[in-house]
Symmetry: C2
């Protein structure tokens, strides 16, 4: 594997500071196409993605998730929430594989992402069913995770140290 | 994103036919390094990977998983099982992100992989605790998933059709 390709794994960092400008439509659609190409159990592809770029909706989500407007999305211009059908065979695995593809499609377009867990608490709370519907999510889908997405602002974080002794080899 | 880079998402397919020759140590270690660079909740990195290359152990796993020696690993020369600490914050998400990194590190070295779910049933069955220990897995870890890995044999499958209408955009 050449260095350029190896860099993809090191270049992907969790970005927590974004420029205000919106990501381009081309970059967005490359992320979504990549998501659709992820593996899934029995090739079910039982996922759904809502891309939120309307500032007021991101702020509403943030306030419901944490009570703080700037958290948890770090003022990212785009939030992509990922849902799995309630009867999916492997909902968390499949959505995570799709999200991983989006993380790398982002890196390849010089975008930054950060996995945000707390979006689940909002979209999976029956109290906020209207918001979920207003975001275009079909009935019978559960939120698995989400990504804050944008152009990193002055951020090129180096990876934190990697835990050692995390594998065994049986030959 | 240039075409070469875009290809990575299309090139990754689930491979179900492998050459018998073992993957190189260099390729293996590039996969493991990539796995360690995955994101994880609170950067816990609460994962563990056992790399099984001993044919008898793969066959034993296969027989316990399905009763059939050739399934579910398709005679792959390497099986990598991924475990998460029982107290991990996001065990399935984190292990899946690590496995995704391994899938792409494999693709970048012209290897093929296939996600195999049934390994979990073996390693998480208390009846087979001795096998789990013999594979070097520490106590207090649960199997989340696994990959069959090898050089694809005459396989360059095209992607199955992609489900449409899987996203909404809120602007």
């Amino acid at each position: 594997m050449d260095d350029l390709r190896k860099a993809i794994f090191e270049t992907r960092r969790s970005i927590r500071s974004f420029e205000p400008r919106q990501i381009s439509n081309v970059d967005l659609h490359e992320m979504l196409e990549a998501a659709q190409l992820a593996a899934s159990a029995m090739n079910e592809q039982a996922w759904f993605f809502t891309v939120i770029q309307k500032e007021e909706v991101i702020q509403e989500l943030a306030l419901l998730a944490t009570g703080i407007e700037e958290a948890p999305y770090y003022n990212a211009p785009t939030v992509i929430a990922c849902f799995a059908a309630d009867d999916a065979i492997a909902p968390v695995e499949d959505c995570t594989l799709a999200i991983a593809n989006m993380m790398y499609a982002a890196v390849l377009n010089d975008l930054g992402t950060c996995w945000i867990h707390s979006t689940k608490e909002v979209f999976n709370n029956p109290k906020y069913a209207k918001l979920k519907k207003a975001c275009g999510v079909p009935d019978g889908y559960t939120c698995i995770g989400s990504l804050a997405v944008g152009y990193p602002r002055n951020e090129s974080p180096k990876p934190e140290s990697r835990k050692q002794n995390v594998f065994s080899i049986i030959r």
